[in-house]
Symmetry: C3
Subunit: 432 residues, 3 copies
Amino acid sequence: MSLEHINAVWVVIAAAMVLFMEGGFSLLEAGLVRTKNAVNVTMKIFVDLTVGALAFWLIGFGVMYGKDIFGIIGTNLFAHPQSIALSIPLPSAAFVLFQIGFTVACVSIVSGAVAERMNFNAYIVTVALVCMVIYPLSGHWIWSSDGWLAKLGMKDFAGSAAIHAVGGFAALAMARILGARKGRFNSDGSTNVFAPSNIPLASAGTFVLWFGWFAFNTGSTLDASNNALASIALNTMLSGASGGAAALFLTMRKFGKADPSMTINGVLSGLVAITAGCAYVSQWSAIIIGMVSGIIVIYATLLVDNIKVDDPVGAVAVHGCNGVFGTIAVGLFDQTHGLLTTGDLSLIKIQLLGAAVVMIWGFSSGTLIAKICEKTVGLRADEHDEENGLDMSYHGIPAYNELERFTDLPASLYNFEETTGVTISAPSSSMK
Amino acid sequence: MSLEHINAVWVVIAAAMVLFMEGGFSLLEAGLVRTKNAVNVTMKIFVDLTVGALAFWLIGFGVMYGKDIFGIIGTNLFAHPQSIALSIPLPSAAFVLFQIGFTVACVSIVSGAVAERMNFNAYIVTVALVCMVIYPLSGHWIWSSDGWLAKLGMKDFAGSAAIHAVGGFAALAMARILGARKGRFNSDGSTNVFAPSNIPLASAGTFVLWFGWFAFNTGSTLDASNNALASIALNTMLSGASGGAAALFLTMRKFGKADPSMTINGVLSGLVAITAGCAYVSQWSAIIIGMVSGIIVIYATLLVDNIKVDDPVGAVAVHGCNGVFGTIAVGLFDQTHGLLTTGDLSLIKIQLLGAAVVMIWGFSSGTLIAKICEKTVGLRADEHDEENGLDMSYHGIPAYNELERFTDLPASLYNFEETTGVTISAPSSSMK
Amino acid sequence: MSLEHINAVWVVIAAAMVLFMEGGFSLLEAGLVRTKNAVNVTMKIFVDLTVGALAFWLIGFGVMYGKDIFGIIGTNLFAHPQSIALSIPLPSAAFVLFQIGFTVACVSIVSGAVAERMNFNAYIVTVALVCMVIYPLSGHWIWSSDGWLAKLGMKDFAGSAAIHAVGGFAALAMARILGARKGRFNSDGSTNVFAPSNIPLASAGTFVLWFGWFAFNTGSTLDASNNALASIALNTMLSGASGGAAALFLTMRKFGKADPSMTINGVLSGLVAITAGCAYVSQWSAIIIGMVSGIIVIYATLLVDNIKVDDPVGAVAVHGCNGVFGTIAVGLFDQTHGLLTTGDLSLIKIQLLGAAVVMIWGFSSGTLIAKICEKTVGLRADEHDEENGLDMSYHGIPAYNELERFTDLPASLYNFEETTGVTISAPSSSMK
């Protein structure tokens, strides 16, 4: 029984939990969007887990962890990521699997911000690009030992910058170019609130994400013998708790209501913000980081509305803004080099640089992807499809048929006639 | 690679699974209450995980595991629980995290029994008090090595007494003082049944709870080298299975229907009842304990109705009654000192004492909390708020907007006008 | 800290994850069937986890792993499975728990195919028979070291044959004898499509299943020091991803819609198909196996419709057909003896034999069970009960009461009058 065996078990369990977070994203987004688009957001998560995982395995992993040139990009390991030689005692397959979980999380961040009006084909293109190039490239800079930001000493333990800020700012750019959902902003500058379709599902998604986040952060040790492992987990808990508490009390005070969406996003913000620093900060710092993130998310949500960007689930505020805040917070609270804890200025400078880089990189990439989609498959759903809901338009089925008011499904969906000669007709009206 | 490293990994995974049980509570309660209160129960779980976790970290942990006086109370470690010196090779942060999961589970038990009519502020106060004082104090008696019940030799491996019975009897007291939901009991003494709003969600919650319970019980070893670990897990499975089977067959026989709520509560009862004894009893005993608990839960539910206490999810019957039964069952089935297995009377006496103590403590505490709330923030929701549903009253949003019949959300909820000058109006009716 | 301790922790965690897959089955089936039967499918999963687990512990385990006679059947260990002497350093209780998870998964496969029209008592009989005899017997042949297929050298790492193909073909036989749901097939030979009731829940179930599948396959090592552990996990991911991608793109191309049910079943097919070979094939082979399985599932679904068998969730296509394909795929892609990888014919022959055996065994067993039910408790639900929905007929409650249109629940369900003298009346109409 070697350390490598233990690490294999540890990282496989952690990877399974991180990949399970996709179920959390699916529930959260299905709960927060309008009913008529709840299938579509779920199907996008399936694209993440299928197309995204394969794209990363095939190309992205090599870009991220392949042989470095100029600190900018990896150049081998394509389609055989398992050939990587790791410096830690860990089977390469476990490492690859864990990294797949990270990539898929990054692109799932984007999925929320573009919900309810994006062309489904464009989303597939987006997933492929993010998982093959966008996330791996900045990931290389920060996490490959030869990456230029890594060499400068940037600290981003589990990816506030590399995953959340990149995903969040790509999401901002794409949501901006995509434009708002029909009816979201009025000509007089006012904003309409669309009611989330299913709060219990959104909450369930949050609990799944929280569960997975323990693995997201502690699994990033990639090593069961890491002495910080347990305190990473506790910091994760404390920051999520204080992020949620801050948002909860702030909404109660400001609006007289304990707002579910904001509380959910407060929890997620606390988790995002501690992701970079979970291995470096004290428990008190984790609580403060969470608290600040829970305040940030509310004002950032407002700011996003204010600049007329329509982000149905608050992905920009949660992942973008708090990813950046979390990256900077390491420079403030790091126990050995933090500005507030030690007075040292060296780390905060590089963290600020790193934060700026991922913001610019994420935003530019999102813009580029949107432009590519516009020129090729088309970025935005047809007006008619959006009006009807993307569920019927792209997937031929509504999310909920509880009243069985949709038994007149277009049989053509399941029509194999041409290839097989079997006739499938629409259900007779007697079945209603 | 030391045992401490292995234990850190083990307890962190177990703690994550225990904390994930909150998602189970949320789904279970959202499914069992009426639609108009499904958001509220979910938000209460967020209070548990945010306010409750922080309150325990700050105060409760010290009360429970701090330096003992008189076997009654711990007196240090406040706001720095990580300073605890453990006698087992385990990082203190892992221990603290696991204990947070336990505290939060205890208060979540209360949340179910007071559902659908409690003032939200009163619930926040309740969470703070339970996590700072109530649970930690009796927890100290039972689980601190210096606690007076621990010194007497009380056996409560993972908390049938310390968590479930305390929570369940506090729930009983609070539900009693709170009074029944409007319309629950008729003046002629008869009872009205409110249909659970969403059975598939309630079931999903149960499966999440069952999953987490494996960690709840086996994680209580706090030590991966504990030889009983695997048999604890198997006992947990068998007792849950036989609790569910007993309730299933009993409802089929008594009522001619296989009742979902009772089957769910049968499973949970089996899990509650084996929690104290999972490390001490044989597999056959686990099956018997589960079976008895599945019968108890049905008659206990009736008894609670009979004394006109309104417990919307059956928390008193599941956690209170079967927590007590599980505590006593150790005295009956323990493999070295059980009355039925060895004829020894010594253990059953202390288990009976312990059970009586937690019943009295839980009930008194619940009464006290209710009185404190009545004198301060108010215990019960306004009649009007209860009638409308707590979702709209406290959270400004209904649980399900599937038919989009609620797009006229009060915009004031999201109205940042005063602080920010941005105007957000209600959605126009054209959006419906 | 011995290997046995580590293995206990590893297998207990894996078993908990496998058992959590039942939550996945419950959500998946509740989402895919019509609303009026969503409680019933959920209750059947509770039967699996309660009656099924106990039946296997009591009888099935001995049939599967007891002292062998003739390579056909085990003959001891009944009601004390923990007495098994394992050749690997693993506590017997952990092994028993993991095997319970496998049995329960096998019978849950059947539950989907017979949904919406089976007598609930017949389902209980089915669960008992599958868990006591059907699954354990073929399991003995394949997985007991003395089993006749095991001795021939059949390779089925985590059960494409032993679990999925057996369950899938038993499901086929039972669905065939049971007959189609009323209104499913028209007299002119055409087919009616019933809309799945809740796509977000079905998706959530899939993510839970995927999460559990990592443990299903890697846990089958039963040994944390197995060198293949991490690559098993990665193969599982890649095959699930390519199965889902293949089905997604095929439905988009054939029908112009990205079909949710088919994408879900594509993912599950990839997972089923890699289950036999996950420890034996390369990553590229895993991707190919997944891709083929995602194509198979679509045509197999059609084929099942074509022969007028009504399988509401596609269990036959997913588990039956891809269980068989996965079994054969080992013979094609095995890294040491695969036909395509090495040109060796020896392994493919035994895999084909094994696949044929489990198909015949599963189908015959399913037929036998159906006949036994017909002669005893009755196989099919009453026509009236089916029309009304099994939820009201067998469980007295609908799945969703979101509009509170069902508050007139039959109070008799909760009527304890005869035994207790307490009167519970139906809710007054004023409560609506």
